[in-house]
Symmetry: C2
Subunit: 187 residues, 2 copies
Protein backbone atom coordinates (compact mmCIF):
# COMPACT_ATOMS: atom_id res chain seq x y z
CA UNK A 1 0.00 0.00 0.00
CA UNK A 2 1.43 3.37 -0.97
CA UNK A 3 0.78 6.87 0.29
CA UNK A 4 0.02 7.87 -3.25
CA UNK A 5 -3.02 5.66 -3.31
CA UNK A 6 -4.73 7.83 -0.73
CA UNK A 7 -4.58 10.96 -2.81
CA UNK A 8 -8.02 10.79 -4.36
CA UNK A 9 -11.37 10.67 -2.65
CA UNK A 10 -14.14 8.94 -4.59
CA UNK A 11 -16.71 11.17 -2.95
CA UNK A 12 -16.99 14.64 -1.56
CA UNK A 13 -17.48 12.87 1.75
CA UNK A 14 -13.93 12.32 2.95
CA UNK A 15 -15.00 9.56 5.28
CA UNK A 16 -16.02 7.42 2.31
CA UNK A 17 -13.53 4.77 1.34
CA UNK A 18 -13.34 2.65 -1.77
CA UNK A 19 -15.44 -0.45 -1.32
CA UNK A 20 -15.30 -4.08 -2.35
CA UNK A 21 -18.15 -5.04 -4.69
CA UNK A 22 -19.06 -8.58 -5.73
CA UNK A 23 -21.30 -9.41 -8.71
CA UNK A 24 -22.08 -13.11 -8.66
CA UNK A 25 -24.91 -15.53 -9.48
CA UNK A 26 -26.02 -17.45 -12.55
CA UNK A 27 -27.87 -14.64 -14.34
CA UNK A 28 -26.72 -12.29 -17.10
CA UNK A 29 -25.32 -8.95 -16.01
CA UNK A 30 -22.20 -9.55 -13.90
CA UNK A 31 -19.47 -8.56 -16.36
CA UNK A 32 -21.65 -5.93 -18.01
CA UNK A 33 -22.44 -4.34 -14.61
CA UNK A 34 -18.71 -4.10 -13.98
CA UNK A 35 -18.15 -2.63 -17.44
CA UNK A 36 -20.95 -0.13 -16.94
CA UNK A 37 -19.38 0.92 -13.66
CA UNK A 38 -16.05 1.33 -15.50
CA UNK A 39 -17.71 3.67 -18.00
CA UNK A 40 -19.30 5.64 -15.17
CA UNK A 41 -15.94 5.92 -13.38
CA UNK A 42 -14.12 6.96 -16.55
CA UNK A 43 -16.77 9.61 -17.13
CA UNK A 44 -15.97 11.06 -13.71
CA UNK A 45 -12.25 11.18 -14.48
CA UNK A 46 -11.26 8.11 -12.46
CA UNK A 47 -8.55 5.68 -13.53
CA UNK A 48 -9.58 2.10 -14.19
CA UNK A 49 -7.79 -1.25 -14.45
CA UNK A 50 -9.65 -4.29 -15.75
CA UNK A 51 -8.26 -7.80 -15.59
CA UNK A 52 -10.15 -10.49 -17.49
CA UNK A 53 -9.26 -13.75 -15.76
CA UNK A 54 -10.87 -16.34 -17.99
CA UNK A 55 -11.87 -14.87 -21.31
CA UNK A 56 -8.74 -15.09 -23.41
CA UNK A 57 -8.68 -13.30 -26.71
CA UNK A 58 -12.35 -13.78 -27.47
CA UNK A 59 -13.47 -10.76 -29.53
CA UNK A 60 -15.69 -9.14 -26.93
CA UNK A 61 -17.10 -5.87 -28.23
CA UNK A 62 -16.33 -3.99 -25.04
CA UNK A 63 -12.57 -4.26 -25.54
CA UNK A 64 -12.71 -2.46 -28.87
CA UNK A 65 -14.30 0.56 -27.19
CA UNK A 66 -12.40 0.44 -23.91
CA UNK A 67 -9.03 0.20 -25.63
CA UNK A 68 -9.75 3.54 -27.33
CA UNK A 69 -10.60 5.38 -24.11
CA UNK A 70 -8.06 7.19 -21.96
CA UNK A 71 -7.48 6.23 -18.30
CA UNK A 72 -8.28 2.56 -18.73
CA UNK A 73 -5.80 -0.32 -18.74
CA UNK A 74 -6.88 -3.82 -19.78
CA UNK A 75 -5.13 -7.12 -19.07
CA UNK A 76 -6.51 -10.36 -20.44
CA UNK A 77 -5.71 -13.93 -19.52
CA UNK A 78 -7.13 -17.43 -19.81
CA UNK A 79 -8.76 -19.31 -22.58
CA UNK A 80 -12.28 -19.53 -23.90
CA UNK A 81 -12.34 -23.29 -23.45
CA UNK A 82 -14.37 -24.96 -20.77
CA UNK A 83 -12.24 -25.58 -17.68
CA UNK A 84 -12.73 -28.91 -15.94
CA UNK A 85 -12.77 -27.87 -12.26
CA UNK A 86 -11.61 -31.27 -11.08
CA UNK A 87 -8.72 -31.37 -13.53
CA UNK A 88 -7.52 -27.89 -14.58
CA UNK A 89 -4.57 -27.95 -16.98
CA UNK A 90 -1.15 -26.51 -16.16
CA UNK A 91 -1.71 -23.81 -18.77
CA UNK A 92 -5.06 -22.80 -17.26
CA UNK A 93 -3.50 -22.56 -13.82
CA UNK A 94 -0.53 -20.62 -15.19
CA UNK A 95 -2.82 -18.11 -16.94
CA UNK A 96 -4.87 -17.57 -13.78
CA UNK A 97 -1.73 -17.08 -11.69
CA UNK A 98 -0.48 -14.50 -14.18
CA UNK A 99 -3.84 -12.72 -13.97
CA UNK A 100 -3.61 -12.74 -10.19
CA UNK A 101 -0.10 -11.34 -10.28
CA UNK A 102 -1.03 -8.56 -12.73
CA UNK A 103 -4.05 -7.71 -10.56
CA UNK A 104 -2.00 -7.60 -7.38
CA UNK A 105 0.51 -5.30 -9.04
CA UNK A 106 -2.25 -2.96 -10.30
CA UNK A 107 -3.88 -2.86 -6.86
CA UNK A 108 -0.62 -2.02 -5.12
CA UNK A 109 0.50 0.50 -7.76
CA UNK A 110 -1.64 3.37 -6.50
CA UNK A 111 -2.32 4.24 -10.14
CA UNK A 112 -5.98 3.27 -10.19
CA UNK A 113 -9.24 4.36 -8.57
CA UNK A 114 -11.24 1.34 -9.72
CA UNK A 115 -9.93 -2.19 -10.31
CA UNK A 116 -12.20 -4.82 -11.89
CA UNK A 117 -11.26 -8.49 -11.61
CA UNK A 118 -13.57 -10.17 -14.09
CA UNK A 119 -14.39 -13.86 -13.48
CA UNK A 120 -11.99 -14.09 -10.56
CA UNK A 121 -14.69 -15.86 -8.55
CA UNK A 122 -14.90 -18.58 -11.19
CA UNK A 123 -11.11 -18.92 -11.28
CA UNK A 124 -11.21 -19.75 -7.58
CA UNK A 125 -14.27 -22.00 -7.86
CA UNK A 126 -12.50 -23.95 -10.63
CA UNK A 127 -9.36 -24.34 -8.51
CA UNK A 128 -7.14 -22.23 -10.76
CA UNK A 129 -6.33 -19.89 -7.86
CA UNK A 130 -7.00 -20.11 -4.12
CA UNK A 131 -9.70 -18.17 -2.29
CA UNK A 132 -6.90 -17.07 0.06
CA UNK A 133 -5.30 -15.28 -2.90
CA UNK A 134 -8.48 -13.23 -3.40
CA UNK A 135 -8.72 -12.42 0.30
CA UNK A 136 -5.10 -11.24 0.19
CA UNK A 137 -5.85 -8.91 -2.75
CA UNK A 138 -8.72 -7.42 -0.77
CA UNK A 139 -6.52 -7.06 2.32
CA UNK A 140 -3.80 -5.28 0.30
CA UNK A 141 -6.25 -2.87 -1.33
CA UNK A 142 -5.46 0.81 -0.71
CA UNK A 143 -8.26 2.40 1.31
CA UNK A 144 -9.37 4.67 -1.52
CA UNK A 145 -9.49 1.97 -4.20
CA UNK A 146 -12.83 0.57 -5.35
CA UNK A 147 -12.56 -3.13 -6.19
CA UNK A 148 -15.10 -5.15 -8.20
CA UNK A 149 -14.96 -8.95 -8.30
CA UNK A 150 -17.20 -10.73 -10.79
CA UNK A 151 -18.10 -14.28 -11.64
CA UNK A 152 -20.39 -17.10 -10.65
CA UNK A 153 -19.85 -19.08 -7.46
CA UNK A 154 -18.29 -16.35 -5.31
CA UNK A 155 -16.85 -18.01 -2.23
CA UNK A 156 -18.68 -17.33 1.07
CA UNK A 157 -15.43 -15.98 2.57
CA UNK A 158 -15.21 -13.40 -0.23
CA UNK A 159 -18.87 -12.48 0.20
CA UNK A 160 -18.27 -12.13 3.92
CA UNK A 161 -15.62 -9.41 3.53
CA UNK A 162 -17.32 -7.54 0.64
CA UNK A 163 -19.14 -4.25 1.23
CA UNK A 164 -21.66 -4.77 -1.55
CA UNK A 165 -22.86 -8.06 -3.00
CA UNK A 166 -25.39 -8.48 -5.77
CA UNK A 167 -26.49 -11.91 -6.86
CA UNK A 168 -27.55 -11.80 -10.48
CA UNK A 169 -30.37 -14.27 -10.16
CA UNK A 170 -31.41 -15.98 -13.36
CA UNK A 171 -35.19 -15.75 -13.62
CA UNK A 172 -35.11 -16.62 -17.32
CA UNK A 173 -32.31 -16.96 -19.86
CA UNK A 174 -32.59 -17.64 -23.60
CA UNK A 175 -29.77 -20.21 -23.40
CA UNK A 176 -32.35 -22.41 -21.72
CA UNK A 177 -34.36 -22.35 -24.95
CA UNK A 178 -31.26 -23.06 -27.03
CA UNK A 179 -31.00 -19.51 -28.39
CA UNK A 180 -27.31 -18.78 -29.04
CA UNK A 181 -25.47 -15.70 -27.75
CA UNK A 182 -25.99 -12.65 -29.91
CA UNK A 183 -22.98 -10.67 -31.13
CA UNK A 184 -22.90 -7.28 -29.46
CA UNK A 185 -25.13 -8.46 -26.61
CA UNK A 186 -23.49 -11.55 -25.14
CA UNK A 187 -19.97 -10.83 -26.42
CA UNK B 1 -42.17 -1.73 -37.81
CA UNK B 2 -40.20 -0.96 -40.95
CA UNK B 3 -38.47 -3.17 -43.48
CA UNK B 4 -35.28 -1.28 -42.79
CA UNK B 5 -35.19 -2.58 -39.25
CA UNK B 6 -34.62 -6.10 -40.50
CA UNK B 7 -31.45 -5.25 -42.34
CA UNK B 8 -29.02 -6.26 -39.62
CA UNK B 9 -28.68 -9.59 -37.93
CA UNK B 10 -27.31 -9.52 -34.39
CA UNK B 11 -25.73 -12.92 -34.88
CA UNK B 12 -24.27 -15.01 -37.67
CA UNK B 13 -27.19 -17.30 -36.98
CA UNK B 14 -29.97 -15.80 -39.06
CA UNK B 15 -32.63 -17.48 -37.00
CA UNK B 16 -31.64 -15.39 -33.98
CA UNK B 17 -33.86 -12.44 -33.32
CA UNK B 18 -33.34 -9.48 -31.03
CA UNK B 19 -34.58 -10.32 -27.58
CA UNK B 20 -36.28 -8.51 -24.72
CA UNK B 21 -34.07 -8.33 -21.61
CA UNK B 22 -35.23 -7.22 -18.16
CA UNK B 23 -32.84 -6.22 -15.35
CA UNK B 24 -34.83 -5.76 -12.17
CA UNK B 25 -34.51 -6.27 -8.39
CA UNK B 26 -33.28 -4.22 -5.47
CA UNK B 27 -29.53 -4.79 -5.89
CA UNK B 28 -26.89 -2.69 -7.59
CA UNK B 29 -26.11 -3.50 -11.22
CA UNK B 30 -29.25 -2.93 -13.29
CA UNK B 31 -28.37 0.31 -15.06
CA UNK B 32 -24.67 -0.54 -15.18
CA UNK B 33 -25.42 -3.95 -16.77
CA UNK B 34 -27.42 -2.13 -19.45
CA UNK B 35 -24.59 0.37 -19.95
CA UNK B 36 -22.02 -2.42 -20.16
CA UNK B 37 -24.16 -4.11 -22.81
CA UNK B 38 -24.31 -0.79 -24.69
CA UNK B 39 -20.50 -0.61 -24.68
CA UNK B 40 -20.30 -4.20 -25.91
CA UNK B 41 -22.81 -3.48 -28.68
CA UNK B 42 -21.03 -0.28 -29.74
CA UNK B 43 -17.77 -2.22 -29.88
CA UNK B 44 -19.37 -4.61 -32.36
CA UNK B 45 -20.55 -1.74 -34.54
CA UNK B 46 -24.19 -1.78 -33.48
CA UNK B 47 -26.31 1.35 -33.10
CA UNK B 48 -27.67 2.12 -29.65
CA UNK B 49 -30.44 4.31 -28.24
CA UNK B 50 -30.65 4.90 -24.48
CA UNK B 51 -33.61 6.57 -22.82
CA UNK B 52 -33.22 7.51 -19.16
CA UNK B 53 -36.77 7.65 -17.79
CA UNK B 54 -36.25 8.97 -14.30
CA UNK B 55 -32.80 10.40 -13.89
CA UNK B 56 -33.09 13.97 -15.10
CA UNK B 57 -29.93 15.95 -15.56
CA UNK B 58 -28.06 14.33 -12.70
CA UNK B 59 -24.35 14.32 -13.64
CA UNK B 60 -23.91 10.61 -14.17
CA UNK B 61 -20.39 9.79 -15.32
CA UNK B 62 -21.56 7.44 -18.06
CA UNK B 63 -23.17 10.23 -20.06
CA UNK B 64 -19.89 12.09 -20.40
CA UNK B 65 -18.30 9.08 -22.06
CA UNK B 66 -21.31 7.90 -24.04
CA UNK B 67 -21.98 11.32 -25.51
CA UNK B 68 -18.50 11.24 -27.06
CA UNK B 69 -18.94 7.88 -28.74
CA UNK B 70 -20.34 7.43 -32.24
CA UNK B 71 -23.48 5.36 -32.88
CA UNK B 72 -25.14 6.13 -29.56
CA UNK B 73 -28.11 8.44 -29.00
CA UNK B 74 -29.14 9.46 -25.49
CA UNK B 75 -32.46 10.91 -24.35
CA UNK B 76 -32.99 11.91 -20.74
CA UNK B 77 -36.19 12.68 -18.85
CA UNK B 78 -37.53 12.94 -15.32
CA UNK B 79 -36.23 14.49 -12.18
CA UNK B 80 -33.87 13.31 -9.48
CA UNK B 81 -36.47 13.92 -6.81
CA UNK B 82 -38.23 11.12 -5.05
CA UNK B 83 -41.54 10.36 -6.73
CA UNK B 84 -44.48 9.65 -4.46
CA UNK B 85 -46.13 6.66 -6.19
CA UNK B 86 -49.53 7.42 -4.71
CA UNK B 87 -49.41 11.05 -5.81
CA UNK B 88 -47.15 11.64 -8.84
CA UNK B 89 -47.07 15.26 -9.98
CA UNK B 90 -48.29 16.41 -13.39
CA UNK B 91 -44.70 17.27 -14.31
CA UNK B 92 -43.45 13.79 -13.37
CA UNK B 93 -46.18 12.18 -15.44
CA UNK B 94 -45.49 14.52 -18.34
CA UNK B 95 -41.76 13.71 -18.29
CA UNK B 96 -42.44 9.97 -18.25
CA UNK B 97 -44.89 10.26 -21.14
CA UNK B 98 -42.31 12.20 -23.14
CA UNK B 99 -39.76 9.47 -22.40
CA UNK B 100 -42.25 6.85 -23.55
CA UNK B 101 -42.95 8.75 -26.74
CA UNK B 102 -39.24 9.22 -27.54
CA UNK B 103 -38.66 5.51 -26.87
CA UNK B 104 -41.52 4.45 -29.08
CA UNK B 105 -40.22 6.63 -31.89
CA UNK B 106 -36.69 5.21 -31.54
CA UNK B 107 -38.01 1.64 -31.52
CA UNK B 108 -40.10 2.17 -34.64
CA UNK B 109 -37.41 4.15 -36.48
CA UNK B 110 -35.39 1.14 -37.61
CA UNK B 111 -32.26 3.15 -36.84
CA UNK B 112 -31.12 1.14 -33.82
CA UNK B 113 -29.93 -2.38 -33.03
CA UNK B 114 -30.17 -2.00 -29.25
CA UNK B 115 -32.61 0.18 -27.31
CA UNK B 116 -32.21 0.62 -23.55
CA UNK B 117 -35.12 1.97 -21.51
CA UNK B 118 -33.54 2.77 -18.17
CA UNK B 119 -35.86 2.79 -15.11
CA UNK B 120 -38.95 2.22 -17.24
CA UNK B 121 -40.06 -0.49 -14.79
CA UNK B 122 -40.01 2.04 -11.96
CA UNK B 123 -41.92 4.57 -14.04
CA UNK B 124 -44.74 2.01 -14.37
CA UNK B 125 -44.54 0.91 -10.73
CA UNK B 126 -44.83 4.55 -9.69
CA UNK B 127 -47.88 5.08 -11.91
CA UNK B 128 -46.19 7.55 -14.25
CA UNK B 129 -46.90 5.31 -17.23
CA UNK B 130 -49.04 2.21 -17.67
CA UNK B 131 -47.73 -1.34 -17.89
CA UNK B 132 -49.82 -1.61 -21.07
CA UNK B 133 -47.59 1.10 -22.59
CA UNK B 134 -44.51 -1.07 -21.97
CA UNK B 135 -46.21 -4.13 -23.42
CA UNK B 136 -47.10 -2.10 -26.51
CA UNK B 137 -43.45 -1.03 -26.97
CA UNK B 138 -42.42 -4.67 -26.81
CA UNK B 139 -45.15 -5.64 -29.27
CA UNK B 140 -44.06 -2.94 -31.72
CA UNK B 141 -40.38 -3.89 -31.53
CA UNK B 142 -38.84 -4.82 -34.89
CA UNK B 143 -37.79 -8.49 -34.87
CA UNK B 144 -34.08 -7.71 -35.08
CA UNK B 145 -34.03 -5.12 -32.30
CA UNK B 146 -32.63 -5.99 -28.88
CA UNK B 147 -34.56 -4.24 -26.10
CA UNK B 148 -33.37 -3.82 -22.49
CA UNK B 149 -35.75 -2.66 -19.76
CA UNK B 150 -34.27 -1.77 -16.38
CA UNK B 151 -35.56 -0.78 -12.99
CA UNK B 152 -36.88 -2.19 -9.76
CA UNK B 153 -40.36 -3.66 -9.51
CA UNK B 154 -40.71 -4.99 -13.06
CA UNK B 155 -44.35 -5.91 -13.56
CA UNK B 156 -45.12 -9.66 -13.83
CA UNK B 157 -46.74 -9.04 -17.22
CA UNK B 158 -43.46 -7.56 -18.52
CA UNK B 159 -41.46 -10.42 -17.02
CA UNK B 160 -43.86 -12.87 -18.65
CA UNK B 161 -43.13 -11.62 -22.18
CA UNK B 162 -39.37 -11.06 -21.74
CA UNK B 163 -36.83 -13.49 -23.17
CA UNK B 164 -34.23 -12.90 -20.45
CA UNK B 165 -34.83 -11.72 -16.91
CA UNK B 166 -32.18 -11.17 -14.27
CA UNK B 167 -33.15 -10.16 -10.77
CA UNK B 168 -30.31 -8.19 -9.23
CA UNK B 169 -30.75 -9.54 -5.73
CA UNK B 170 -29.34 -7.39 -2.98
CA UNK B 171 -27.28 -9.64 -0.71
CA UNK B 172 -25.56 -6.63 0.86
CA UNK B 173 -25.49 -2.91 0.03
CA UNK B 174 -23.45 -0.18 1.72
CA UNK B 175 -26.50 2.12 1.77
CA UNK B 176 -27.72 -0.16 4.55
CA UNK B 177 -24.73 0.93 6.62
CA UNK B 178 -25.32 4.59 5.79
CA UNK B 179 -22.37 4.84 3.40
CA UNK B 180 -23.25 7.43 0.74
CA UNK B 181 -22.99 6.83 -3.03
CA UNK B 182 -19.46 7.27 -4.36
CA UNK B 183 -18.85 9.52 -7.36
CA UNK B 184 -17.80 7.45 -10.34
CA UNK B 185 -19.27 4.28 -8.85
CA UNK B 186 -22.88 5.05 -8.02
CA UNK B 187 -23.27 7.99 -10.40
Amino acid sequence: MTEKSFKRDLSSDNSTKGLVLVFTGEGKGKTTAALGTAIRALGQGLKVFICFFMKGEYPYGERKILSKLPNVTIASFGQENFVNPSKPTDEEISQAKQALSASHEAILSGKYDLVILDEINVAAAFNLIRVEDILQLIKDKPASLELILTGRKADPRVIHVADLVTEMLKIRHPYDKGIPGRKGIEY
